[in-house]
Amino acid sequence: MNENLFASFITPMILGLPLVTLIVLFPSLLSPTSNRLINNRLISLQQWMLQLVSKQMMSIHNAKGQTWTLMLMSLILFIGSTNLLGLLPHSFTPTTQLSMNLGMAIPLWAGAVITGFRNKTKASLAHFLPQGTPTPLIPMLVITETISLFIQPMALAVRLTANITAGHLLIHLIGGATLALMSISTTTAFITFIVLILLTILEFAVAMIQAYVFTLLVSLYLHDNT
């Protein structure tokens, strides 16, 4: 059963050719781009939503931080669309792959931290020592703050992976339980089915929330460092 349970998380390859690239490319087909002055409904709606999100998320940054708008908006669009598409049955969700999430988290976090180091060296080093600590505690606190800084990209990546993977696994398990229970007792199967519906609604929310949280945290690291 373990073999079957994790089968949907294996990177899809066909005869050694990476099918996964096409799967990762697919959400970009769903947001068409157009150069017209007046666009059709779909494009207008997507542009409006994206501009709403960008106004909400980038208003806290100064001019230097706002140069990251394109990156952060494409990040939230990518993670959100990938997570939502992963809720379709038999689909592959790229954000369940730890490799991809590490590849997203580490460069973005490192970019924010290195920007801070280069431009505001004193202020970014000052983050290691919160104000008002008693003198004997200083060495221990510096070590703690360093560890907490370096764990930020790992936490970003593992948080996204674990949340989406766990959600998919739960849906698999409860769906399988409903199916197995149907022949034994219909009432219990019905209750399990209600649980499945609630779980799916939760997963829709989680899909979008995780995208938001990822982008928000990167934006916070950026805010600290610009």
Partner: protein, 66 residues
Amino acid sequence: MPQLDTSTWLTMILSMFLVLFIIFQMKISKHNFYYNPELTSMGMPKQNTPWETKWTKIYLPLSLPL
């Protein structure tokens, strides 16, 4: 856990780089940010030509020789 099988990691990361950093950013960079409609300043008021300063009955449409 199949996510820990590092043989596919390079493919995964490269496809993500392609999509996230290139494709999506190219799409979003083409979005237009419209300005809100604003009143234009009126500038100089229209000067009346000499024949418009006085209303004469030749402007009445019924009296025009057409």
